[in-house]
């Protein structure tokens, strides 16, 4: 059977249209019209080309090795230079182009070291109202190697908050050493030799047990055998303010 001529012609026209469409889709039009991939690859390249503003401590160290070593020996060893001196990539590229700031005002140090209840336990904090108000921190402390100007003689030098709390409590006359054994080393390297805490009920029992023989024993007596089951006293009572929070 022979195809009618008009069908053949129509076939040519359809084939031509199909060829044009395929040509447009596969060759003429860019693939970025149909897929997000080329855009994403270009975005990654753009993202990677963004300027670096913080040089990083390794770059600072290339020129400022002395300061780095000084800092490395002290309590600020984990603080990188640009924490205090600001983003310094411009200074690293050309030392005269931009001088990184040297923050000297009290408020700057207090941003980390002012007392805040949410800060972790043991982080060195001061009450700005009581700790040398108005004085610059740098007049006593060296920022790269911050140690107290002299080793504190009393526990209150560092643990001022506890000292002030205890001074107003029924335990005001109880020495710190009555409950805590403190190694000499704790004064110079506080984190490496932590003081002890009472691990038995007998420490409090010296004053508070019904059969306590201490002449200065407290009037608050409990029967250690029946009171508080097996808990150590300070698990329920805050020894620095035994009356509890007002």
């Amino acid at each position: 059977m022979r195809l009618p001529e008009q069908v053949t012609r129509l076939g040519f026209v359809i084939a031509a249209i199909a060829a044009v469409v395929l040509l447009l889709r596969l060759v003429v039009l860019p693939s970025s019209m149909f897929s997000a991939k080329p855009h994403q690859e270009a975005a990654v390249v753009r993202e990677m080309a963004k300027p670096v503003r913080h040089a990083g401590v390794a770059v600072c160290r290339e020129c400022h090795e002395e300061e780095y070593q000084e800092k490395y020996g002290g309590a600020h060893r984990n603080i990188n230079c640009e924490n205090c001196h600001g983003p310094s990539a411009a200074h690293a590229a050309d030392e005269n182009a931009a001088k990184p700031p040297r923050p000297r005002e009290r408020e700057f140090c207090l941003r980390c070291h002012a007392y805040d209840a949410s800060r972790p336990n043991g982080f060195p904090q001061v009450d700005p109202q009581q700790h040398r108000p108005g004085k610059r921190c740098l007049s006593c402390h060296e920022a790269h190697d911050p140690v107290p100007p002299k080793t504190p003689e009393t526990c209150g030098g560092c643990h001022g908050r506890i000292e002030r709390t205890k001074a107003l409590s029924a335990h005001a006359l109880v020495e710190c050493s009555a409950c805590h054994a403190v190694d000499e080393r704790h004064m110079t390297e506080p984190r490496l030799a932590l003081p002890t805490k009472p691990t038995s009920r007998e420490v409090c029992g010296r004053c508070h047990a019904t059969d306590a023989t201490d002449p200065e024993a407290s009037k608050a007596r409990v029967d250690l055998a029946s009171h508080g089951r097996t808990y150590v006293c300070w698990e329920c009572h805050y020894a620095h303010l035994p009356e509890g929070r007002k």
Partner: protein, 253 residues
């Protein structure tokens, strides 16, 4: 021109145009930079961040460094990373406050609330989810995950529809008022691909933030993952965040 001439011309024209187009494309391709710059293979990395909640002191240095590094607008409500203060009260209530919105810490310490049982800071940022909801919802494919696991926004493709901002369960995205496109933490992609640390990790004074590569065998983050009790935010959403929180309080959402 009759029909026959037109068809003849057309048959000649289209292949010629296609050839020219292909040649033009080659010329363009030669001028553009390579897809991944030499020396960096994205498939070899899978970046993540570890956050030790116990170490954060809420000093906001990370927030400031991030703003400088990434041109985040200065107004105190645009953040790529921010710090939250959690306060858990005796009656079981939890209050959350973003402390990064304050220009400066208050002059005088706020009086302590006696009902607060415990309180701490939690740094927040884009969790760089392994299954990111923001990527799913983007209608134009402007936000996507790179081969090294970082979720990026193509600012030239983004139409600013804010759908991703709605979809992010962590509130990590904002609409940049300058570019009018969605913006978020990129783990400082321009820094990490050069081997530097993200700006927030670089300046963190207490090492509360650890940056690393979960594909690295002796990586700091892998060790952090091993030695700490780790949780992620909203694990029930199966987004599989790559920001790993150590010692996270159960109240943190």
């Amino acid at each position: 021109m009759n029909k026959r001439d037109f068809l003849k011309d057309a048959i000649l024209f289209f292949p010629a145009a296609a050839t020219l187009q292909a040649l033009a494309k080659d010329a363009q391709g030669a001028a553009e930079p390579a897809e991944t710059p030499a020396g960096y293979d994205a498939t070899k990395h899978w970046y993540g961040m570890g956050i030790d909640v116990d170490k954060c002191i809420g000093c906001n240095r990370c927030v400031e460094a991030c703003k400088v590094e990434n041109d985040v607008p200065e107004e105190p409500f645009f953040f790529r990373t921010w710090i939250e203060r959690y306060q858990i009260h005796a009656n079981g209530e939890t209050t959350v406050e973003c402390i990064s919105t304050r220009a400066a810490p208050p002059e005088q310490a706020e009086p302590e609330d006696p009902t607060v049982v415990r309180t701490f800071f939690v740094p927040k940022l884009c969790n760089q989810c392994a299954h990111p909801p923001c990527v799913q919802v983007c209608p134009v494919g402007a936000t996507f995950q790179t081969q090294d696991g970082v979720v990026l926004v193509d600012a030239e493709r983004c139409i600013g529809c804010r759908y991703c901002i709605q979809a992010c369960p962590y509130g990590a995205r904002y609409l940049n008022p300058k570019t009018r496109t969605a913006d978020k933490c990129t783990f400082c992609y321009h820094r990490i691909t050069e081997g530097l640390l993200p700006a927030c990790v670089e300046v963190c004074p207490t090492e509360a933030r650890i940056f690393g590569d979960l594909k690295g065998r002796a990586d700091r983050l892998v060790r952090f993952h091993r030695v700490n009790p780790i949780s992620v935010l909203k694990p029930d959403l199966n987004t599989e965040p790559k920001v790993l929180y150590a010692k996270l309080d159960g109240e943190v959402r």
